[in-house]
């Protein structure tokens, strides 16, 4: 019997990522990892791309990981877990190892997933390894000091899309990686956010139960890069969902389904305002960027509703 998704049951489970790691106070990444590893009752083997999560949890000779974990490089979380999973299948098939119901999970940041690791991810999904790939998406290369990535939204300030005299932040919109993953026709793809832990954990359970690859894109607030106070991590995550900037949905065997529909879709401004990375968008001369960003969110939301067979 799987542990019920109830706090009074879940809190009894041992932490698979222990405290003492060096991720920043208020960072969403360890919250997400813990939610994911708590959702999985089975043994896990993890692969981790280079990035904040990796560097902050394993400074030799210490490790915060209580489960088998491997990091090889920045763009290789998917290819590395492919090898681990293939070895497991091989040894079990040959009777060299007993079947143990191990779940294979890869963690990569948005840089390691949307950009440099996209090819490896696509390869893993296409080849059909039974593994869950999680992108903890903080919308920039945070580990190297907040540079723009393919996940950075239009207009956002980063150190490589700075706000200058002629260019106000990132000139291009983010790519829709969740849809790209879903286009691989894998059993399970979903988008989640740590403020809605029950939704996230339910998705993880579905993902690791799938017979084949699964992909989870989780919005992961980074207070250093997003420029917001450390104590509003969960609130900012909620606002991302309630403004439909980060809709919560899943694609199960090709069926798109919203898992949360805001009662009242909030204006995007509510998500943007608390974040320093968008501060310049509230200046009069950048109003058009703000409007563009809102229009993009609206368009993507309408597209998603249609895919999910929901009324506008």
């Amino acid at each position: 019997m799987a542990t019920a998704l109830k706090l009074k049951e879940l809190y009894k489970k041992e932490d698979r990522l222990t405290s003492g790691h060096r991720l920043c106070a208020g960072c969403a990444a360890p919250i997400i990892v813990r939610q994911i590893l708590t959702a999985i009752d089975e043994p896990v083997v993890l692969s981790n791309a280079t990035g904040c999560l990796e560097v902050s949890t394993t400074i030799y000779p210490y490790t915060a990981w209580q489960v088998p974990w491997i990091h090889t490089a920045f763009e290789t979380a998917a290819s590395t877990i492919s090898g681990v999973e293939a070895m497991y299948r091989s040894l079990v098939k040959q009777g060299k190892m007993e079947e143990q119901d191990i779940r294979f999970v890869a963690f990569g940041g948005d840089g390691g997933t949307y950009d440099i690791g996209l090819q490896a991810l696509s390869g893993m999904l296409e080849r059909g390894h039974t593994a869950l790939y999680v992108c903890y998406n903080n919308e920039a290369y945070m580990n190297t000091g907040i540079q723009r990535s393919g996940a950075t939204p239009l207009g956002a300030w980063t150190t490589t899309s700075p706000v200058g005299k002629v260019i106000p932040g990132k000139p291009r919109p983010r790519k829709d990686l969740t849809a790209i993953a879903a286009a691989h026709d894998i059993p399970y793809t979903a988008q989640a956010s740590p403020h809605n832990w029950r939704d996230l954990m339910r998705k993880v359970r579905k993902a690791v139960a799938a017979d084949g690859p699964s992909f989870l894109n989780v919005l992961s607030s980074c207070n250093r890069g997003w420029r917001h106070p450390t104590d509003i991590t969960i609130e900012i995550s909620r606002l991302a969902a309630e403004t439909c900037y980060w809709p919560l949905y899943e694609v199960e065997d090709g069926e798109w389904k919203l898992t949360h529909r805001p009662k009242e879709k909030l204006p995007l401004e509510e998500f943007l305002r608390p974040q320093g990375r968008f501060r310049h968008l509230f200046r009069e001369e950048n109003k058009h960027v703000l409007e563009q960003l809102q229009a993009q969110v609206d368009r993507k939301w309408r597209q998603l509703l249609k895919r999910c067979g929901e009324e506008e």
Binding site: I70, A86, M87, L91, K96, M97, G123
Partner: protein
């Protein structure tokens, strides 16, 4: 019983892989390695191996998957060439530092650019500092034998380093030769079962692979790789001796041909040694005291042994099938020069860069090299430190 067959190098390598029956292979096709992957695919499709074969989307992923699979706790092999090796370069280093005993055949091909599919050694020479053991083979038989010995060397618990087995693209990979293929059982008996160390799949004893490693420990870890290479220098001859006991073929750090009483020595890797041997014979018939040394083990570099073998030579000519732009000469020349200097060998040394991008090297060219060496022995002067053979200047 072993059997003799006409085989090209890639088929012989695929045979070795079939017999080793690795738990995981992750590979990507590239000329001239491709037929190895194709032949092995057929073995998988016909159920002749138990291997999980990951048909990755790139060589970068091939090596990453190999590292993951190896850390998971099983036997892993792969193969590549040139640009494929270059693409996986980042991971080639990581494989060695993770102490992953992966065996990789590298069918030597010129690196781009310009793009070229034919043989030279720029690809594997480019990774000579990556921390892999490197074995060069002359012909399909040596490719086959080295691949099998590589498994034992890599997995030796004092070593635990990945091994690259090389032979010349097209010349050896696609040239049919007589190859002695050993019994499946005999090969399996020789390599023995795989012993896992710190397997990721041992979920009851979790390990962390590849942590961030700063100035306070990184250097010790690099130092351990150095030690492993030193052990490899002991283990490689041990494995070769056992191989000889099993199969009768002898392997050393290098191969000597009429070198003992030679005054002029030529040092050359891989298939060109075959051509050079016939030149040695014809010049010997003319009374010239010439000999040949063909290195097999390039990493760990057997510096002292090479120096001893060349100690009383008057002139040593090195033939390099790759260059190291801006260096003193090609990589083999530079390494060997350092070795001879370090171990007080006074022979004069010159370098000949040849065969880049598959350019043919003829017996008459090798003969001209020996004639050069003879002239230098007579005058006591080095005419030209690095000569490019057969190039339009």
């Amino acid at each position: 019983m072993s059997r003799f067959e006409a085989m090209d190098g890639n088929t012989a390598t695929a045979e070795a892989m079939r017999q080793v029956n690795p738990d995981v292979v992750a590979a990507y096709p590239i000329t001239p390695q491709t037929s190895t992957v194709q032949t092995f695919s057929q073995f998988v499709a016909d159920g002749e191996v138990d291997t999980e074969f990951i048909r990755v989307e790139s060589e970068h992923s091939a090596m990453s998957a190999c590292i993951g699979a190896s850390a998971a706790g099983g036997r892993v092999m792969t193969a590549t060439s040139a640009n494929g090796l270059a693409l996986m370069w980042e991971m080639v280093y990581i494989a060695a530092s993770n102490r992953a005993p992966i065996v990789m055949t590298v069918v030597n091909r010129a690196l781009s650019g310009p793009i070229n599919i034919h043989c030279d050694h720029s690809d594997s020479m480019g990774t000579r500092d990556a921390g892999w053991i490197q074995l060069f083979g002359e012909n399909p038989q040596e490719g086959y034998d080295n691949a099998i010995q590589a498994v034992r060397i890599a997995e030796h618990e004092d070593v635990l380093l990945p091994v690259m087995s090389m032979y010349d693209g097209f010349i050896t990979s696609h040239g049919l030769e007589r190859v002695q293929i050993e019994d499946d059982e005999a090969v399996r008996d020789f390599i023995g079962p795989f012993t896992a160390h710190d397997a990721l799949l041992d979920v009851d004893n979790p390990v962390t692979y590849g942590p961030l490693d700063f100035y306070d420990f990184y250097m010790e870890h690099k130092r351990q790789q150095v030690e492993a290479m030193k052990y490899a220098k002991r283990v490689i001859p041990e494995v070769a001796a056992d191989f000889e006991k099993h199969f009768g073929r002898r392997y050393g750090f290098f191969d000597e041909y009429r070198l003992d009483d030679a005054e002029l020595a030529l040092v050359v890797l891989s298939s060109t040694a075959g051509t050079a041997r016939s030149v040695v014979d014809s010049l010997r018939a003319q009374g010239l005291k010439v000999g040949l040394l063909k290195p097999r083990v390039f990493r760990p570099f057997p510096a002292e042994e090479l120096a001893d073998a060349l100690r009383d030579k008057i002139v040593v000519g090195v033939m390099d099938r790759s260059d190291s732009f801006g260096a003193l000469g090609g990589p083999l020349f530079v390494e060997l020069s350092a070795a001879l200097k370090t171990y007080d060998v006074s022979a004069k040394m010159v370098d000949y860069v040849f065969g880049l991008g598959g350019r043919d090297t003829t017996p008459s060219q090798i003969e001209s090299v020996f004639r050069d060496l003879a002239e230098m022995a007579e005058t006591g002067e080095i005419k030209q430190l690095v000569t490019y053979l057969g190039v339009r200047e």
